[in-house]
């Protein structure tokens, strides 16, 4: 029973990281209708910034994370301006390939800047543990902070999109860009803000991911990126609660598959579950089924 709980908690913790990354994917997809494959690499950049801030310049971890968020937010806006904005009216495949180009660029720039040698990431919250039930159940501080961060981000983001003016503009743009523009919404600025928020979240995810799994290499972001993308689709891409649900489920399934089925085949199990879910609900768990009009 306790081992089950242990697995469940580590699953939720991993799922929270996936959920934070998936939020970035899902928001960008919702508004720009593009699969931003470079998102995973923004995570990696965030983790590197955080790493250098903490271990080279010996800044306190909080400052490191804030710095990473700031750099990634700017990076997100710059990428959007330079690479995606000129392609607003281009076919979606062209945008996809450009995103892949940006992903290659970030990975190889990281390779040159920070060398391919793996870095050991110092946990941003220390190595402490909380022991429950006479030490039968141990929960590390990283896990607690990760889950708390995910919950806070979800609440803030939901409030942001539901109540603020910018949030409403974002929802309007994702529903109908043309109509939003006619209502006086600055669509380009709104898309930039979405990218900024998504990239800032990626920085947080990067710091948390590398605190839990401390090896940092230039390709650190790609597999979690793909998994989080899967999570976003799982929950229904474009939907913020869907990203949370998809991320959490994916994390839990992955850890359980590792624990009870097989370590090597865990990825296969995760993707198989995704396929089954999409067959039953073709638009994801919480996705809106859009009816085709003829």
């Amino acid at each position: 029973m306790m081992t089950f709980l242990n697995f469940l908690i580590s699953g939720i913790s991993l799922g929270s990281i996936y959920a934070i990354i998936a939020l970035g994917y899902t928001m960008v997809y919702g508004i720009a209708k593009m699969l931003n494959f470079a998102h995973g690499d923004v995570i990696m950049v965030g983790a590197y910034i955080c790493f250098y801030a903490i271990s080279r310049f010996e800044l306190p971890p909080v400052v490191g994370v804030v710095l990473a968020i700031a750099v990634c937010t700017v990076l997100g806006i710059v990428i959007e301006r330079l690479a995606y904005k000129p392609l607003r009216s281009a076919p979606s495949l062209a945008v996809l390939i450009t995103a892949i180009g940006v992903s290659y660029f970030l990975q190889n720039a990281a390779l040159l800047l920070w060398s391919p040698n793996p870095k050991v990431f110092p946990s941003v919250v220390g190595d402490g543990k909380v022991e429950l039930f006479d030490g039968k159940l141990t929960v590390s501080h990283v896990t607690i902070v990760t889950i708390t961060a995910c919950v806070i981000i979800m609440i803030v983001l939901t409030l942001f999109t539901e109540t603020t003016k910018i949030g409403k503009a974002m929802r309007a743009c994702s529903e109908d860009k043309g109509a939003a523009q006619l209502m006086g919404i600055n669509v380009n600025a709104t898309i930039s803000i979405t990218f900024a928020i998504g990239s800032g979240l990626a920085a947080i995810a990067g710091a948390l991911l590398c605190s839990a799994y401390p090896t940092l290499i230039p390709t650190t972001g790609s597999m979690p990126g793909i998994k989080a993308f899967t999570a976003a689709v799982f929950g229904g891409i474009g939907s913020i609660p869907g990203a949370l649900l998809g991320g959490l489920l994916l994390g839990v399934i992955e850890i359980f598959a590792k624990a009870y089925i097989s370590t090597q085949l865990s990825d296969a199990v995760v993707f198989a579950v995704l396929i089954i879910v999409l067959l039953v609900k073709p638009a994801g768990l919480l996705g809106k089924q859009i009816r085709e009009k003829v």
């Binding site: 690479a83 180009g101 190889n108 390779l111 891409i237 993707f271 995704l274 067959l279």
Partner: protein
């Protein structure tokens, strides 16, 4: 001389065949004269494999209009099945070209079966959801082959998953060794074989596209509902394109694998799928000649940039982004259109 009027597509198809044959002849002559550098010589078979991959993916993406992010999965199926066949037949068939041909056929058949099985769930979905499921299948195929053990001995074939439980008898040989992949491959892939495979691929794809089935597939791409309403069987024709695309990718995978003495399942991952997709998009969707040129050029490009060593992949990424930005620039596009129309006018006057 009788003036035969060929349609525009026929002319373009013959141009494609002609250019491929010309490239082959030129490479053979240069190779015979010893003018081909050894690094380029080593890349000839991979280029052929990537060309076949690009053309087959173009069938899915360009002609059928569905984005597939897991094409490397079929390449993987073909590589493992084809190479295993070649190793099993090593003693019974001594002629290398014949063995290669049989292996490629087996690879194509197995990849086609995989394509059919995957197509059943995949083709029910649409758009980005279809793309993500193909990605998922690609990853599943990679995981499975990473944990698959296949051995052969006097009692026949032995397969096990996760750990090596093949219990081979005396004289038995482990062919697929899980994460170690396949080792000890005889390098029987040749440039000529690659060339023949490209020609076969082009014949298959061009004939499919210009047939009744091909027109049905393109009708589905352009407007599924309209096609359905005039009685086109959507599932059947989509499945046809998908399975043919998968089997060609399988043959390409076997050709690619038998150019190396050893390979692992991780060679055919998401990045490989993306690489081939880049060829297709840069070459132009539905444009087979474009795919061929893009595949050949982009396989050589990183090698050609070798003198920049560490910077080459960075340069590659920048070129990729700039090309996408340039080809989709509205100003540049209208300028190109003007150029084309003025060119036409000149022709009409003449």
């Amino acid at each position: 001389m009788k003036n035969i009027k060929w349609s525009k597509t026929t002319r373009k198809n013959f141009l494609t065949y002609g250019l491929v044959i010309l490239a082959y002849v030129v490479m053979q002559i240069l190779g015979g004269a010893g003018l081909v550098s050894s690094s380029l010589k080593g890349m000839l078979v991979p280029i052929c494999a990537y060309v076949v991959m690009a053309v087959s993916l173009n069938l899915t993406v360009g002609v059928m209009g569905e984005l597939s992010l897991g094409h490397a999965g079929f390449m993987s199926v073909g590589a493992f099945c084809g190479t295993s066949t070649a190793i099993i037949l090593q003693d019974s068939i001594s002629s290398a070209p014949l063995r290669l041909a049989i292996s490629l056929v087996v690879a194509a058949i197995f990849a086609a079966i995989a394509g059919f099985l995957i197509g059943i769930p995949v083709l029910r979905l649409r758009g980005d959801y279809l793309a993500i499921v193909t990605l998922a299948f690609g990853e599943i195929i990679k995981s499975v082959f990473n944990n698959l053990y296949l051995g052969v001995d006097s009692r026949g074939l032995h397969i096990s998953l996760l750990s090596d439980r093949t219990n081979l008898g005396e004289g038995g040989k482990l062919i697929i060794g899980g994460p170690m992949g396949i080792g000890g491959i005889q390098k029987i892939s040749t440039f000529t074989a690659g060339f023949v495979l490209i020609i076969i691929t082009l014949v298959v794809v061009f004939n499919l596209v210009n047939s009744r089935a091909g027109r049905a597939i393109m009708a589905i791409r352009d407007n599924r509902i309209a096609a359905e309403s005039v009685g086109v069987n959507v599932t059947k024709y989509k499945m046809m394109a998908f399975v043919i695309s998968a089997s060609l990718a399988g043959a390409a995978g076997a050709l690619f694998a038998m150019n190396y003495s050893t390979f692992v399942a991780n060679k055919f991952d998401f990045n490989t799928s993306i690489l081939v997709l880049v060829f297709v998009v840069l070459g132009g969707q539905g444009n087979m000649l474009g795919s061929i040129i893009a595949a050949a050029a982009l396989t050589i490009l990183p090698e050609a940039l070798r003198e920049y060593a560490d910077y080459r992949m960075l340069v590659y990424a920048i070129i990729l982004i700039l090309v996408m930005l340039a080809t989709n620039n509205p100003k540049l596009k209208s300028w190109m259109d003007r150029l084309k129309s003025s060119h036409k006018k000149v022709k009409e006057v003449a």
